[in-house]
Amino acid sequence: MIEAHGLTKRYGAKIAVNNIDFVARPGVVTGFLGPNGAGKSTTMRMIVGLDRPSAGSVIVNGKPYAEHAAPLRQVGALLDAKAVHTGRSARNHLLAMAATHGIGAARVKEVIAITGLESVAHKRVGGFSLGMGQRLGIATALLGDPATLILDEPVNGLDPEGVIWVRQLARHLASEGRTIFLSSHLMSEMAQTADHIIVLGRGRVIADAPVAEIIALSTGTAVRVRTPDAVRFTGLLAESGAAVTSSAPDLLEVTGLTAPRLGELAAGAGIVLHELTPSSGSLEDAYLKLTEDSVEYHAGEITEKVSL
């Protein structure tokens, strides 16, 4: 369980994380989504005490992270695949990390096997690919068999097989009742892994809801119309009160009217349509819509609408 209250991080005049509140619950994969620079990594670093919050607080499993007697038993964190000395072998890195908590070589062997690193365990980390580095980071996170896992962009640099593996691993760990907090800037990735999504934009929580609700947010918002008679149809739509934008001479994005109504209007006026597509309502669209708004002025409004 991770609970953030009014968590804020300022770097000089720039606010990286702006007074955010959220909870990541046990038994659930909580996705932490946002464009690059939204403040995801900063938030994750504050959870494990690497960055000091400018204001607010965050507690893990009931206490601030640093107050736990066995921090690695509480939280396993993959924050940065490059958080390893390049001159050391993967096994020695894991042994050194494990030794801090009196965890022995047997567990190190286990996490090496779980993450499929046996063949490179004795090689120096400096020569690792990004994907192997991610696996080593995950192995490190699993050392203490922690109740909470924080994974920052875990699929970064993994091959497709590795991506599926991380996805299944996250789902499996959540099914064991652990708290999984996982960040990504890829909506499609979240759609397949997370149960609950927290969207961060410009340091603020702009949505905090189950995956299904996030998708529902964007359904029925726009209809794509392709017609050779775009000019006449635009005039007709304007009279009906719909908003129209156009990105190509024969392509219209229409909001304010449903697809069937648009079809009827076109038929009534004898206008030929080549395409009539309601917006897909994909998570990707919802995400783009949310993060686009966060750059403008609707952020507060949307938070009210979406938050639980």
Partner: protein, 290 residues
């Protein structure tokens, strides 16, 4: 990577038991020892310290004993044995300083420090464990090198009628003092590395303080003949610490105010420098984001 990784079996410990795991200082010492011995630079640096100490001692002894008399600077049997056994210190201290900086700056440079501080969120225990392990290993390697040098050169010096008594306090105490000096400047460098958080900068700071600053101060003292500048020179880490591996120096204040430190006083001054930089490093370590 392999197909068996595709189906996540349990990630929970099987044969191993982690339920009793907790953060302890003994665990941190073990962790730092694993870190120290599992990086190549450490092994090379310590080998270099041993090599420099022993080879320099043998070379200077061979040269000294080939001269008529063999008595180095008229310092007698004990004094000559001390001089040859500690000749390498002025060189091996550079290696120890570089290693001291690298022990911590290497973690900042590679990002390892984030793993370290995630495991030890209170941070200071990790720094103190690092200081303890690096200090202990450096002292051990230094004293072994110096004692080997003393033992190997003793028969050569005996051949030139300069048979030293290794276990007399006027020889064994400054020999141990030399190892203590190397250990202390090493720890001071580690603290500088923690302050600067960068290998190049840390090494520049450490070697600057050990090599460059004394040279500049010495030059200024020579030109100005100023007693104050002369005393500043006396209290610099390298010159104060050097009294740890010299004999027969008595602490005094001359009529013109020029201060001389004996071994104990010089050692305490050097410890003062180490404590000062460790305190600054601790404060910054607690406050800064990583």
């Amino acid at each position: 990577m392999t197909t068996n990784t595709l189906a996540p079996t349990s990630t929970a410990p099987g044969s191993s038991d982690v339920t009793t795991a907790r953060l302890t200082f003994i665990g941190l010492l073990r962790s730092e020892l694993i870190k120290l011995r599992s990086v190549r630079s450490t092994v090379w640096c310590y080998a270099l310290v041993l090599g420099i100490t022993i080879v320099f001692a043998l070379l200077i002894t061979l040269w000294v004993t080939s001269q008529s008399g063999g008595d180095l600077f008229g310092s007698g049997a004990q004094g000559t044995a001390l001089l040859v056994s500690t000749l390498g210190v002025s060189f091996s201290q550079l290696v120890v300083c570089v290693l001291g900086v690298l022990v911590i700056s290497g973690e900042y440079g590679t990002g390892m420090i984030r793993s370290t501080f995630t495991a030890v969120p209170r941070r200071l225990p990790a720094l103190f464990a690092k200081v303890t392990v690096f200090g202990a290993v450096t002292f051990l390697v230094s004293i072994i090198g110096i004692l080997i040098a003393a033992v190997l050169t003793a028969p050569l010096l005996s051949g030139a009628d300069l048979a030293p008594d290794l276990f007399a306090s006027d020889l064994i105490v400054p020999l141990v003092g030399a190892a203590a000096y190397l250990t202390l400047v090493g720890i001071m460098s580690l603290a500088l590395g923690a302050i600067v958080r960068n290998s190049a900068g840390g090494i520049a700071a450490a070697l600057g303080l050990i090599l460059v600053v004394p040279t500049i101060v010495q030059t200024v003292a020579a030109i100005t003949q100023s007693v104050i500048v002369g005393n500043i020179l006396t209290f610099l880490p390298s010159s104060a610490g050097a009294s740890l591996y010299q004999t027969g120096i008595e602490g005094s204040v001359a009529d013109n105010g020029l201060i001389t430190l004996d071994a104990t006083q010089g050692g305490l001054v050097l410890i003062g420098w180490v404590v000062l930089f460790l305190a600054i490093a601790s404060l910054l370590l607690k406050r800064r984001d990583v």
